[in-house]
Amino acid sequence: MSVGIVMLVHTALGRAEQLARHWAKSGCPVVIHVDKIVPQDKHDAFVFALSDVPQLKFSRRHRCEWGTWGLVAASQDASELMLSEFPDVRHVYLASGSCMPLRPVDELVAYLTERPRTDFIESATTADVPWTVGGLDEERFTMHFPFSWRRNRYLFDKFVDFQRFFGLKRHIPNGVVPHMGSQWWCLTRQTLSAILQDPARRNYDRYFRRVWIPDESYFQTLARLYSTNIESRSLTLSKFDFQGKPHIFYDDHLQLLRRSDCFVARKIWPNAERLYQAFLDNPNVQSNGTEPNPGKIDRIFAKAVDRRTRGRPGLFMQSRYPNFGWENGMTAGKYSIFQGFSELFQDFEGWLARATGAQVHGHLYAPERAEYAGGQPVINGALSDNANLRDINPRAFLTNLLWNTRGERQCFQYGPRDNPKINWYFARDPNAQISVISGAWAVPLFKSNANFADIRKEAARLQKLESKMLDELRSPDSKARIRIWTMAEFIEAPMEPLQVVIDEIGQKSSRRLAEAPRMEDLTGFGQFLQNLKNQGMHPYLMGDFPVDPVPRSARNRKRKPYLVKK
């Protein structure tokens, strides 16, 4: 009793020879099918090179173009030859020239001897699996495919459209329920001979000849008719990427392949010398008799596909430059923007850093320079504080900053004095948390020692800018977490909104704030606003301030708000 290997070969004949010898050395009969595309002289040399190997036959050659009938015809002929020439064979294993046995062949034989009635063939109904790439799943069984996908893509597509439009459907032979799965199977003599000697085989062949990619469905479908015990998985480890082409294994996958405990893997890069040496020349791997466990390989390749299709959120680079709306995360992490807080409170940055543990910058978009935390001239990623470098692409500045500091929450100040071009981008970024005290820009003016005419002019300018910013934040497109208070509203009860914002940042444990930021002394601020009004400049963004308010900051200083002692 033994396992017969059917090998489909089309390139890297040297490696195929190595493999054939490896299989034969362990006592497995081998039948090789060489693709018709291989030139005759090369084919002859290949046959001659293997002429010393006993129990090795070559089957009739077919042209095996991907997705066409040739592959099935080749497997059929080779299998027939195998069954008739080697009556001892109980299982037939379909492999390719770039498959590599990872475990000693004896283990495979023993494994199959223990399961004499089991057919290992991945076989699933089309409706239930999302495997197909390119949208042809059920239609591959109900349409005609007379044109080659490789050579006549245009006609192929047009003919599909044509059949869709006119609702042309093929008749599926009676009793056939289309199944598909990996083309690399291992079938018992019973099942395989039943398929090959079926009186209705001509009928089936005629049908499958015009099915799209029949090598993934012919045996997979017909095995369901005859097999008594189907194990719907392939013994060959074969991973596909998002375009449906197989992943390739290289030298550096050696440990991964060793630990996978799979019997056979494909596809191996023909020049992966170390792999061929490790698995073919000295297969002294100790037998452990475990089941195949390709979990780790699965994860690595799944990650690769994910990287290719979704990428790393917030990264803009030479080979990832998503169109607007396709970023999968416009920025690399969550961040907070505070507008008006550092104007209203003394040393707000220091307080915020203590309260949240986040990195708190000043006005990153200030006209003079980017005010990084701690006054650094350069920050993570060698991002300079130079305003020219920043303003040539304010969006890249933001995405770079957040990419460079991923893992650490970033907070920064913003305001109407700063570069306004970026505001629009914040507003649409779900990672942004924006808190605005509108009109707080007036506080530094109130404190300043400038001439009142200049103050009036500046106040008018800032009010106009901030009003526009608020409009952008309130636009229906904005996706950021946005909170806007007028200044009058805010100083009424400053701790409550602060607590909410800090909780949302959620860096530290959710204790109540132990320390309140110190508010600027606003005595006379109402009068200051009234003076502006008297000059014809009506400040409205800060809400309604009475001309002579209660000096709140004084009262605040005395109170110890929300202090909880342990």
């Binding site: 990427d241 992943h247 030479q318």
Partner: protein
């Protein structure tokens, strides 16, 4: 893209190819070993002038990677590098005394050699101070990459220019022939690159790095472009447009994914900033043969005199390609 624009680009491509064809007369073969070329060989194309000190390591680096043949254009070297190249068994070298500038900074010469010899081959077009780095380059030869690109029907491979610099003054550590330049220039800027799309050719336009940070901080728009597409499965109908920053047909510039994914990409480690730099900058300034009225070299000359330390607290020290992958400067894409 409209039919008219598409046709204009076609005309432009033809113009560059005709120009390259005319400029072939600049080139005089010194050692032509192109009869050794076999089908599927991997090529390196390069223009050099007085880079003799770098060439030993350059050749070793790419030979180890699996490059089979080198094509050099020597632009009137005076340091004996032409003889050195002519002695190498796997190098074909041409020499010229014609103007580098009038050959569009050497790219006409490259286009001609590519057109003539690289049809159907993977060709890597790099300067002698550029070291190509691709995913898994420490465990897989270049052939593994090109085989994979072939299997994936990818024709061009992006590798951004990454400026490497030493810690301390640029001229502090002398570079000797055959030495790995990354031993000296082992630092880089990891995250200050800005990207825009070039609507005409469809390529990305990348700027930033230490040159923008130090030399071009007042006029960042003039900072040198860092996007490059150096590795191309060449066809005689292709043409590089401006250095190796972009090429035609424009589909070859689409080396980036627009729908959120990452395509595989590499890095060109730019080891310009060695102790040879100041003399080079001065010489190039006098020759006035470089791009944009040599303003790059004007900026260097000014910057180099003032403060030749490009290093800053947040510079990263180069370890390996995986580090660059994690930093987001290159990507494995779906190659695993």
């Amino acid at each position: 893209m409209g039919v008219i624009r598409s046709y204009r680009l076609r005309l432009q491509r033809r113009r560059w190819r005709i120009r390259a064809f005319r400029k072939r007369r600049d080139l005089r073969p010194v050692a032509n070993r192109t009869d050794q070329i076999k089908q599927g060989d991997l090529f390196v194309f390069s223009t050099q002038r007085n880079e003799g000190v770098r060439l030993p390591y350059f050749l070793k680096y790419y030979r180890d990677m699996g490059v089979n043949h080198f094509f050099f254009v020597d632009n009137d070297s005076t340091d004996g590098s032409l003889d050195y190249l002519a002695r190498q068994p796997d190098v074909s070298v041409w020499t010229t005394r014609a103007s580098y500038k009038r050959a569009r900074f050497g790219i006409d010469w490259m286009n001609w050699l590519l057109m003539k010899y690289a049809h159907g081959h993977w060709a890597l077009t790099v300067d002698p101070d550029e070291l190509f780095l691709y995913p898994f380059c420490d465990t897989r030869p270049l052939r593994a990459l090109t085989d994979w690109l072939d299997a994936s029907s990818i024709k061009s491979f992006s590798a951004m220019l990454l400026d490497m610099y030493p810690k301390g003054r640029i001229d502090a550590q002398p570079y000797s022939p055959g030495q790995d330049p990354l031993e000296i220039a082992s630092w880089f800027d990891s995250g200050n690159y800005t990207i825009e799309r070039n609507p005409k050719f469809g390529n990305l336009w990348i700027q930033g790095g230490p040159r923008a940070r130090v030399f071009f901080k007042d006029k960042p728009a003039l900072a040198p472009a860092l996007n490059k597409v150096p590795l191309v499965k060449w066809d005689r109908r292709y043409a590089y447009v401006s250095s190796t920053h972009n090429l035609l047909p424009r589909g070859l510039n689409l080396v980036y994914d627009e729908w959120g994914g990452e395509k595989a990409s590499g890095v060109l480690m730019h080891t310009k900033f060695l102790d040879t730099f100041s003399t080079k900058a001065e010489e190039e300034l006098n020759r006035k043969q470089h791009y944009g009225a040599s303003r790059e070299y004007l900026a260097y000359a000014a910057g180099v005199k003032e403060n030749p330390d490009l290093w800053c607290k947040w510079s990263e020290k180069y370890i390996n390609w995986r580090q660059l992958e994690i930093l987001g400067l290159m990507s494995k894409g779906n190659w695993a």
